[in-house]
């Protein structure tokens, strides 16, 4: 399967996966059968905008506006999508 991330791609959370804020962990997590992933702040910021409607490009634009001082933010965001897609936490819609 093609794993390249394009700005026009639209992603949603994979089936049977759940993304939520965890107060006790002070972080976002992804939950799925037999496991979970605890996400750093930055990764959580990306994934909370993934909704099956916004494109990768939309999310990049939004995060650039939200964090104007972050350098190389686009590369990091695309890296996050690559990781999340390769781990099958996300599916393309």
């Amino acid at each position: 399967m093609d794993q390249t991330i394009n700005h026009s791609d639209v992603f949603a959370l994979a089936l049977h996966h759940r993304f939520q804020w965890e107060e006790a962990q002070n972080s976002y997590v992804i939950l799925f059968p037999e496991g979970m992933v605890k996400l750093h702040g930055g990764a959580g910021e990306v994934l909370k905008r993934v909704n099956g409607i916004a494109s990768v490009g939309d999310i990049v634009t939004e995060l650039k506006a939200a964090f104007p001082d972050a350098e190389n933010i686009e590369k990091d965001i695309i890296g996050m999508f690559e990781l999340a897609f390769s781990k099958a936490w996300l599916r393309k819609v």
Partner: protein
Amino acid sequence: MTQPSLGESVVQKTIAAQNNGVAANITQTQPLWLLAEVTYRCPLHCAFCYNPTDYDKHTQNELTTEQWIQALRDARKLGALQLGISGGEPLLRDDIEEIVAEAHKLGYYSNLITSGVGLTEKRIQAFKEGGLDHIQLSMHDITEEINNFITNTKTFELKKKVAAMIKGHGYPMVLNVVIHRYNIGHMKEILEMADALGAEYIELANTQYYGWSLVNRSQLMPTREQIDEAERITNEFREKSGSKMKIFFVVPDYYSDRPKKCMNGWGEVFMIVTANGDVLPCHSARVLPNMQFPNVKDTDLGWSWKESPAFNKYRGDAWMKEPCRTCPEKEKDLAGCRCQSFLLTGDAEAADPVCAMSPHHHLIEQAIIDAQNPVIAAQPIVFRNDKNSKKIIAGELNDRTEQFHALP
């Protein structure tokens, strides 16, 4: 959030399936996994069951629905996220619907771990409405003969029906197959069956020897050659079948030369509440001597996790003896399993005898030899049922249990 960290070291912690589904880093200060063993009653009589052989003591004093719901609330406050509802067979209780609905409200990712016996259209519909996240179904073999033999029941056709029901309700299909001498030769067929059923996940769990499976160790243990072949077939299936099914092959510790990091560390991420309310850091902790485990009926779960002497007893590595204390690998495996050490050596703080550096490693080598001894291996299997549990409690099966330092 700190902006420079955006996208950097994205994954702090990945928890994968091993050790009965538990793995993570140490230094976790909250329970992430709560296993609710809601009953020890079970319609199946599996020879490899890890439940305590004296479970019959705890079939009459189960927690009430209200007590379970309170335990779920308290554990959630401590940070527990993944909930396993297990047993025995949890479906023998008629309040699982209520427990599931409460778990969903509290934000758990909930998993019903079942043999499938007792799952009906009506119940699965209620679970779906209540927000149960997934169902893990145990399967035993592709043949009716072995399924019915090892579970000591006629459940083969039922399992296939239940698998279809789970799939039909849009649940991810998570199959758990305990591997032993009787089904290890059917690995390819088991994987093909799981794929044909549409399984998303399959856990090939080589038997670990606790509870009933320890009593039946010589009857269940496959040879090293069989394990190697099973792993080869599994890897080949992963590479060649084109199946998207995620396969977890749980390596049997008797055939490795280092112990497993049991439960990912004592009191690190995993908490069990048993049918009668005991709070344990692992499934078989009650075999350990001179330990008083807290019970939800009389102590707060927060205290149990953070303060209780039992949960603190083997946290970290200060308790270790040689050769573990100065071992460069001690953080990797935390000296293995305390229960296995005690059951086999009589010393809970000894290195897990699975380790090739353990002074007791010969006990594992002997167990492997015994399992290939036709006279020993021909002893009858002691199936997990109330009658045998009562016999074990009464000391009537001493010839099968006396070699261990506690009742398995």
